[in-house]
C-alpha cells in the first residue's frame, strides 16, 4: 500500500502513525491493511476509574441531603478523572478504530452527566457498540441511565409527557430535521413514557407511567413501545443516509459527495451494520482521492493526541489537560449541548488558532500559557475569593524526546515534513523551514507542529 495512503488512513482511523508501523504496513496490500485495522478492534477494553467509594452507600443514603451532596461532589471529581483516563486511553489505544469511532459516537449520541457511574457506563456503551449494529446501539442508548437523565426521559410520563428525548432521537440521532412532523414527536414521546432506571443505573420500565394506548407514528398505527419506534425510524432510508453523511463528514470530507453517500447508504441500509459501512469507506477508491487527503481540520482531541503519536508526552498535573481542552474548545466530558461540538471550521477562531499554533511550544518547549480560573456556571463558588484574577502558568510536561529520537533516527528534515505534515507545503515555506541547517530535529519538529498546515489531516 502507498505510504501516503497509509498515512491518510491512519490519520482518519486513528491519530497518525509511527514511522516503524508505516514501514511495516507499506509492504502489505491495501485490503490486508484495512482488515488488520478491524481485526485489532474486534475486542473492547472499557475505560474505568475506581468507583469503590460508591460501595459504601445504600439507596436510602440518597434521601439524606448531606450524604447525597457528598456523593455528588465526589462523583463530579470522578467524572473529571474519567475524562483524563479517556484521554490517556486515546494516547495509547489498543483498539484504535474502536476508540476513534467512540469519539465519533460521543459527538453523535451526545450525553453528559455528573453521575460517574452512569457516564462511565454510557461511555463504555459507546465503545462496545461503536462497530456493531446501529439498531441495537440506538435501543441501548435510549435505555441508558445517563441519557434518560440528560434528555429528561425519566420525566416522560403518561400523564405528563416530556418530548425532549423523542425530538432529539429524530432530529439529531436518526433522521435529521425535516423528516418527521411535530405530531410524530408527540406520538413517539408517548411510546417512551415510563422509561426509567434504578439506583445503580439499570433500566426499568415503570408500567404505571407507560402509555399503552395506540400511537400513530410515521404513518403507522399500533401500541408501540420505544423499541418499536426505533425500528420504524430505521425503516426510513433517510436514517441510513443521515448516519452515512455524518460518517462521511467525520472520516472523509466536510463536503458531501452525493454519489459516495448513495454508495454508503446502499450498504448501511441493508442491516445497519456499522463495521460493514466503515469497511466500505476504507476500501473505496474515493476515500484515497487527492482532494480528501489533508482536507480536514483536526479536532482538538485529534490535535492533542496526534502530537503524542510523534512525541509522547505526559502531563505532570493531569488537571491541566482539562485547561488545554477548554482553551482548544473540546472538553471531552462536557459537550456544549445535545447537538454536540460543531466541527470542521467551527473549531477555529482567532483565539483557538493562536492557541493551536503555540501549543507545540507550550507542550514540548515549556512556553507559557495564560488563563482565567473562574469556574463554570455550576462550579462550587465557595472558594471564589481565594481564586486569583488571572494566571500565567507553564503546562507541566514530560516530553519523551528519547522516543522521538529513536523513532526518527536517520530521518532527514525533508522526510520529517512528509511524515508530519499532510498538505503540501509551499516552496517558500519549505525553504524557510529548511534554511537553518543547524537546527536540531526536535526543534524542527516543534516548528512543523506550529504550522497552520499541521492543523489539517
Amino acid at each position: 500500500m502507498k505510504l501516503a495512503h497509509i498515512q491518510h488512513l491512519y490519520n482518519r482511523i486513528g491519530f497518525g502513525i509511527t514511522p516503524k508501523e508505516l514501514k511495516h504496513l507499506s509492504k502489505k496490500p491495501q485490503k490486508q491493511v484495512v482488515n488488520s485495522i478491524f481485526e485489532n478492534s474486534k475486542t473492547t477494553t472499557p475505560v474505568t476509574v475506581d468507583l469503590s467509594f460508591l460501595k459504601e452507600y445504600k439507596v436510602t443514603d440518597f434521601k439524606k441531603k448531606e450524604i447525597r451532596q457528598a456523593i455528588q461532589k465526589k462523583s463530579r471529581k470522578k467524572v473529571k478523572e474519567f475524562g483524563i483516563a479517556w484521554f490517556n486511553r486515546l494516547k495509547n489505544p489498543s483498539e484504535v478504530l474502536r476508540e476513534k469511532m467512540t469519539l465519533f459516537w460521543a459527538n453523535h449520541f451526545v450525553c453528559q452527566s455528573n453521575n460517574i457511574l452512569f457516564i462511565q457506563n454510557y461511555n463504555n456503551v459507546l465503545r462496545k457498540n461503536a462497530l456493531g449494529s446501529f439498531r441495537e446501539f440506538t435501543k441501548i442508548v435510549s435505555k441508558e441511565a445517563a441519557m434518560l437523565g440528560y434528555l429528561n426521559n425519566k420525566q416522560n410520563k403518561k400523564k405528563s409527557p416530556n418530548e425532549n428525548f423523542a425530538r432529539e432521537l429524530m432530529e439529531l440521532f436518526t433522521l435529521g430535521q425535516g423528516h418527521y412532523t411535530e405530531k410524530d414527536i408527540t406520538e413517539s414521546a408517548r411510546a417512551f413514557t415510563g422509561y426509567n432506571h434504578n439506583f445503580r443505573g439499570k433500566f426499568v420500565l415503570k408500567n404505571r407511567h407507560h402509555d399503552e394506548g395506540e400511537k400513530t407514528f410515521l404513518g403507522k398505527n399500533g401500541n408501540f413501545n420505544g423499541d418499536n419506534i426505533i425500528d420504524i425510524i430505521l425503516e426510513q432510508k433517510q436514517c441510513a443516509t443521515f448516519i452515512c453523511e455524518k460518517v462521511y463528514r467525520y472520516f472523509v470530507n466536510d463536503t458531501i459527495n452525493k454519489k459516495h453517500i448513495d454508495e454508503m447508504t446502499e450498504v448501511f441500509y441493508k442491516d445497519y451494520n456499522i463495521e460493514n459501512l466503515m469497511r466500505t469507506v476504507f476500501l473505496s477508491k474515493w476515500f484515497y482521492d487527492e482532494k480528501n487527503i489533508g482536507a480536514k481540520i483536526k479536532s482538538p482531541t485529534e490535535f492533542l493526541v496526534g502530537i503524542n503519536t510523534v512525541v509522547p508526552y505526559k502531563m505532570l498535573r493531569e488537571k491541566q489537560l482539562l485547561l488545554l481542552q477548554k482553551l482548544l474548545g473540546q472538553m471531552l466530558m462536557n459537550p456544549p449541548n445535545v447537538a454536540g461540538w460543531k466541527t470542521g471550521r467551527n473549531w477555529i477562531d482567532s483565539n483557538t488558532i493562536v492557541t493551536r499554533l503555540r501549543l507545540a511550544s507550550v507542550l514540548l518547549n515549556n512556553a507559557q500559557i495564560t488563563y482565567s480560573d473562574k469556574g463554570d456556571e455550576e462550579a462550587d463558588i465557595s472558594d471564589f475569593k481565594s481564586k486569583k484574577l488571572r494566571r500565567k502558568t507553564f503546562i507541566k510536561m514530560e516530553a519523551n524526546w528519547e522516543t522521538f529520537k529513536r523513532n526518527y533516527k536517520n530521518t532527514s528534515k525533508k522526510e520529517l515534513i512528509q511524515l508530519l505534515v499532510t498538505p503540501k507545503l509551499s516552496v517558500e515555506t519549505e525553504a524557510m523551514l529548511l534554511k537553518n541547517k543547524q537546527m536540531p530535529l526536535q526543534d524542527f519538529c516543534v516548528q512543523l507542529m506550529s504550522l497552520p498546515e499541521y492543523q489539517l489531516c
Partner: protein, 396 residues
C-alpha cells in the same frame, strides 16, 4: 538536551528568525462603520435570582414562598412603594437615581429550558427554545456588517457562541499586549509571508491562514490603539472588575469595537443563597458604578448601552436548603445615559400566575431587547440578524 538549552535553541521561544513584516489583511474587507454606538453585554452566569435582586416587598406571596430567604424591608433600597433593590446594590441605586437605569421585568422566552448550558445557548444564539443554532446573534451581526473580529470582543480566553458567526468571529482577549507579543513571533511572520495561495478562503488551509492573519491583525490593532492610561479609575479587585476595566480602557481608547461581552459567575444558588448572592451583587454593582463613572469622565458614556442578563431566573418557591432552583423569566438591567424610559420599565412579576413548574411567566421576549438594540441603537436591520422580526421596546 536540557529543557533550558532546548528553550534557548528553539526559534519559537527565542526568535532566531528575523523580518517582522505585517500583513495588511484588513484591506480586503470593506470597512463599513455603522456609527460609534457600543453595547456592553454582561451575563450573570448561573441564573441570578431576580426576585431577591429587584424585590416586590409588598407582595405576600413573595414572603410566603420564601420563608427563610426573603429579603426583609430593612434590607431593601426602596425604588417605589412596592419595589426595591437588594441592599448590596447601592452603587447601582446611585446610577438609578441619576436616571441611568431601566429595569425590565419578566424577560424570557416561550417554553423555557432550565439547563444552564441550553438556556445560555438560547440567549446567545437568540434561538427558539427547540431550535439549535450554530452561531450567535453578535456573530451574525459581524457576518452581516462584514466586520473585523475586533468589532466584537469578549474579555475572556475563549470565545462564546454569542460571538461566533457563520463567516466572521469576534475576538476573545484578556491581555491584548500579550496576544500581540505571541503573534509577533518572527516564526509566524515568516509563515504568513510565505503563504501565497491566491484562493485564500476557498479551502480549509486558506481558512486557517485567514484566521491566523485576522488574529494577528486584531491583536496588533487592539494592542497599538489601546492605552492603559485611558483608565485611571480604581476598579474592585476581582475578575469582573478587571473585565470592566479592560472594556473601559478599550472604549476610552476609542477602539472601533461595538460589542463587548463580560460575565460574572457563581449565581447558581441552590443552597445558602443569601450570602452568596449578596456577595456577587456587591461585586456586580460596585464594578458597574466605577465603570459608568469612568466612561463618563472620558466622555464616552453617551455612546454606551450596558445590558445585564442571566440565562434564567429562579423558582419562586425556595427550596429546603436556603436556596432556589432553576427558574424561567427574569429581570434585565439596561444602563445608559439617554434612556427613553428610566426606572421600572414594566410591571412586576405576577407571583399568583406561574407556569406548571412554579416559575415566572415571561412577558417580554429577550429577543425584543436585542431587536431594539440592533434597530434603534446600532441602527441595523434587526430581522436580518435575528432571523425574524420582533417588536421593539421603548427604552431607547
Amino acid at each position: 538536551m536540557k529543557r533550558r538549552d532546548f528553550l534557548k535553541q528553539s526559534t519559537l521561544a527565542s526568535g532566531m528568525f528575523f523580518v517582522p513584516q505585517f500583513l495588511k489583511a484588513f484591506e480586503s474587507i470593506p470597512n463599513k462603520t455603522f456609527g460609534n454606538k457600543k453595547v456592553v453585554i454582561v451575563q450573570l452566569k448561573g441564573g441570578n435570582d431576580g426576585l431577591n435582586t429587584v424585590i416586590p416587598f409588598q407582595n405576600d406571596i413573595y414572603y410566603q414562598q420564601r420563608k427563610t430567604i426573603a429579603i426583609q424591608h430593612n434590607n431593601i433600597l426602596k425604588l417605589s412603594d412596592e419595589v426595591g433593590l437588594h441592599k448590596n446594590l447601592q452603587p447601582l441605586k446611585n446610577l438609578y437615581d441619576k436616571g441611568f437605569v431601566s429595569i425590565i421585568n419578566n424577560v424570557g422566552y416561550p417554553n423555557p429550558n432550565l439547563s444552564h448550558f441550553r438556556s445560555t445557548d438560547i440567549w446567545q444564539t437568540a434561538s427558539d427554545s427547540n431550535e439549535y443554532l450554530q452561531n450567535g446573534w453578535v456573530g451574525r451581526y459581524l457576518d452581516y456588517t462584514k466586520s473585523n473580529p475586533y468589532k466584537a470582543i469578549e474579555v475572556d480566553e475563549s470565545l462564546s457562541l454569542m460571538l461566533k458567526g457563520k463567516t466572521q468571529n469576534g475576538l476573545a482577549v484578556t491581555d491584548p499586549k500579550l496576544l500581540h507579543r505571541y503573534m509577533r513571533e518572527p516564526f509566524f511572520n515568516n509563515v504568513i509571508k510565505n503563504y501565497n495561495d491566491a484562493h485564500l478562503s476557498e479551502h480549509n488551509l486558506g481558512y486557517l491562514y485567514n484566521a491566523l492573519i485576522d488574529a494577528k491583525s486584531s491583536a496588533k490593532y487592539i494592542s497599538e490603539k489601546s492605552n492603559p492610561k485611558n483608565t485611571s479609575a480604581t476598579y474592585p479587585k476581582n475578575i469582573f472588575g478587571k473585565q470592566l476595566k479592560t472594556i473601559a480602557n478599550f472604549i476610552n481608547s476609542k477602539l472601533e469595537t461595538q460589542v463587548y461581552y463580560a460575565g460574572l459567575s457563581g449565581f447558581d444558588t441552590h443552597a445558602n443563597q443569601p450570602n452568596t448572592q449578596a456577595r456577587l451583587l456587591k461585586i456586580y454593582a460596585e464594578s458597574m458604578e466605577v465603570f459608568v463613572n469612568d466612561l463618563q469622565k472620558n466622555n464616552a458614556f453617551d455612546d454606551v448601552i450596558i445590558l445585564t442578563f442571566s440565562e434564567f431566573g429562579r423558582r419562586v418557591q425556595q427550596n429546603q436548603s436556603n436556596g432556589t432552583d432553576h427558574g424561567a423569566a427574569n429581570t434585565v438591567f439596561v444602563i445608559g445615559k439617554n434612556l427613553k424610559k428610566q426606572g421600572l420599565y414594566n410591571n412586576l412579576p405576577n407571583l399568583g400566575n406561574l407556569d406548571s413548574r412554579g416559575n415566572l411567566k415571561y412577558e417580554v421576549d429577550f429577543r425584543e431587547i436585542y431587536a431594539t438594540l440592533l434597530d434603534k441603537w446600532l441602527q441595523i436591520d434587526d430581522s436580518a440578524i435575528l432571523n425574524k422580526s420582533f417588536s421593539k421596546l421603548k427604552f431607547i
